[in-house]
């Protein structure tokens, strides 16, 4: 049992360290949010000005913006480690690698949650979407989506952080993997905002949850191999 407590303490210490760095890091996190908002703005130019067309596209655009911002976020969380050679030190501590993964994934999920949560009102305003009672399933989608994205992102960011062409490799590897996540999240958003005639929202939420569980398990199991050099 103390193994678990120790692992938990390690994970929390890592998540806390990352969160502190994020909050203090010269608005790097804020820049990502701003970037995602600009992307949404640009979508408006690309697909507008017909308000109805934008409203229909809104769920998809929201999640695309979250994905793009998310890629930057996950990359940055590992960049923190690479800056001063901290990653090598991290890999050498006598701790369970799964705990390291858990800590970084936790920090990643939290960052994604903030990103998603803040983008929803931006979308609501830009594309004139009334949120109303939709907020609960929307929240569920954002939470589950954040966890899933962070689960994959932590593993892949750890994998690419020391690679050549890492800036393109992370998106290249991640995007096909998170395609079903994107699909499901958008579906939940659509049914939350526009009604659910087929009653499919539950199924999509389950898909999201399943994705999260699988990716967390695999990520935790393989992260140790990625830390080695």
């Amino acid at each position: 049992m103390s193994e678990l407590r120790r692992g938990l303490a390690v994970a929390i210490a890592i998540a806390r360290k990352d969160a502190t760095s994020e909050l203090r890091g010269r608005q790097a996190a804020g820049s990502t949010l701003f970037f995602a908002a600009i992307v949404l703005l640009l979508f408006g130019f690309a697909l507008g000005p017909n308000a109805q067309r934008l409203a229909e596209a809104a769920p998809g655009l929201l999640w695309l913006a979250i994905v793009f911002g998310g890629l930057l976020t996950m990359a940055r969380l590992h960049q923190l480690e690479a800056e001063d050679g901290a990653l090598e030190q991290l890999a050498l501590y006598p701790v369970d690698r799964r705990a390291i993964y858990a800590g970084k994934a936790l920090a990643g999920a939290a960052a994604m949650l903030v990103l998603g949560g803040l983008l929803v009102p931006v979308v609501a305003i830009l594309y004139t979407i009334p949120l109303g009672s939709a907020w609960l399933p929307l929240l569920a989608a954002v939470v589950l989506g954040a966890i899933g994205f962070a689960a994959v992102g932590t593993a892949y960011a750890g994998l690419t952080v020391r690679m050549r062409a890492r800036e393109v490799m992370l998106p290249l590897l991640m995007l096909p993997i998170v395609a079903p996540l994107l699909l499901a999240a958008v579906k939940v958003t659509v049914t939350a905002l526009g009604g659910d005639p087929l009653g499919e929202q539950g199924a999509w939420l389950q898909l999201l949850a399943g994705f999260d569980v699988i990716m967390l398990v695999v990520g935790a199991g393989t992260y140790g191999f990625l830390l080695e050099e």
Binding site: R6, A9, V10, A13, K17, T20, S21, R24, G25, L80, E83, D84, G85, A86, L87, E88, Q89, L90, A91, L92, Y93, P94, V95, E228, E229
Partner: protein, 259 residues
Amino acid sequence: MPQTTIYVAPRLAGTLGTIPPAVATVELARLFGRSAALAGVSLTIEIGRTVGLVGPNGAGKTTLLRLCATAIRPSYGSLAIDGIDAQEHPELIRGRAVYLSHATGHYDDLTALENLRFAATMFGWGEREGDPVVREALETVGLAFVAGARVRTFSAGMRKRLALARVLVARPSLLLLDEPHAALDSDGMALVDRLIGLWHEAGVTVLVASHQADRVASMADATVRLEGGLVAEVSGAGVSQGPVGATARPRVAVVGMDR
């Protein structure tokens, strides 16, 4: 002189109750891409010795240290730390072997205190018991006055001192110091010398890679000179070259190659 407590890992008993050597390598080799950073090193280092590792740039000093730290895996040959095989159980070596690298490995946006507290947690200290350890370490390296400052504001010398503090928070049986004197002023270098002396007294095996051969030689039990990825010369007590029965050709030890 501030009080400095040295924490040491418990001794491991080897087979038959003998104490295994701190470092035992057989034809240890490591390639990066196609260049051989280490081309077959066979060394046995007794426990508790302070050993200087000298040689020109590119001789393989850093590579040897990193292999001992399990930061990298051998390409060929074998390596055992305190009798533990580095390929089979690297996780048991981590924490016993502590590595002070060229890059100081700090988190720039965290304060010195936060960095050390994090390290303390990683090295297994609980929150409460680790606090005095961390504070003492900061005192020892002379950074207590900037404990609350972010590492981003630190000079290279201060970063090095903080890295030394991190080593003080660990509980090693083997210390791998890569150019510990680099970036330090004369006070800093004296601090390093003093700490090495304390570690030696406490029975920790210390491997110091340095360009300052003379400085190291005066403190060390033995000196190993590396050149071109091989051992050129061994002098002093406690280090022998090659265990009994070493062959001159590298053993083919890459798993999976049919010959």
